[in-house]
């Protein structure tokens, strides 16, 4: 089965696109063929929580609740240094590998 990563932002500005760019690039470098990266609005998250292929949530918003899958705070993709971005990307690769 494939693995789904959702990248959630709060509004239509699509700040999640910036995170999506970085994640897709790394996913391609790692050679993961079965990983889907999908951009969503945080308001629509409920519909994805029941998906059995969901492995990770990357959120551009601060998170005030818990989920059954790991959550990564994605703001560094927008405002962080390359080192900070690499730390997040390494975590994402670890999560994908562990599922």
């Amino acid at each position: 089965m494939g693995k789904l990563i959702v990248v959630a932002c709060g509004a239509g500005i699509n700040t999640s696109t910036i995170a999506e760019d970085s994640i897709r690039e790394r996913i391609a470098q790692e050679g993961f063929a079965d990983v889907e990266v999908k951009r969503i609005l945080m308001a629509d998250i409920e519909g994805y929580l029941t998906r059995t292929d969901l492995v990770l949530i990357v959120s551009m918003m601060k998170i005030f609740r818990t989920f059954d899958v790991p959550v990564i705070q994605g703001m560094p993709f927008l405002i962080g240094s390359q080192e900070e971005k690499n730390v997040l990307l390494n975590k994402i690769v670890d999560v994908v590998n562990s599922k």
Partner: protein, 154 residues
């Protein structure tokens, strides 16, 4: 970028009481040149209440207020470099106020183009030394040429 940009879209060493004043000023200048509709400032301020655009960049915070594409006739970028910071709420946590020193006001006709603008800005957001360079420009023309160089504006 296909954004239009000129010196009159920059507010340099701006003293403003609050974020709304900054938005109104930049929107007013955009409107005066025909880039946006008359109510673009009001639309932007309203959007800011629900979906704030402050970002905790280092070493000082920035904001990128904007409204929907319907109010935009021609895409443009407005920039305010503040003498004293004004408060914008944090995009990631709307309950948190941020002291914002530089405001990038976006007016994009096309959502895809807006993403590209954001990509270009984001390369600066992650580089504290670049943001310091921008804030430490001593003249409006310095700000203008810095923005042209770093954002490859026309």
């Amino acid at each position: 970028m296909t954004l239009e940009f000129n010196e009159t879209l920059i507010a340099f060493d701006l003293q403003a009481g609050d974020a709304k004043e900054v938005i109104d000023l930049l929107a007013g200048r955009m409107h005066a040149q025909g880039f946006v509709a008359a109510d673009y400032g009001r639309q932007t301020w309203e959007r800011e209440q629900h979906h704030p655009t402050g970002l905790p960049t280092k070493p000082f915070c920035i904001a990128f207020p904007h409204a929907d594409a319907e109010g935009v006739h021609r895409s443009a970028l407005g920039v305010a470099v503040m003498r004293q910071p004004v408060t914008f709420q944090n995009m990631a946590d709307p309950d948190e106020g941020l002291d914002v020193s530089v405001v990038f006001m976006l007016a994009n006709r096309d959502p895809e183009e807006q993403i590209q603008t954001l990509r270009n800005l984001a390369t600066l957001f992650g580089q504290p030394e670049k943001l310091v360079e921008l804030r430490e420009q001593s003249t409006l023309l310095g700000v203008a040429s810095w923005l042209r160089r770093e954002l490859r504006l026309g």
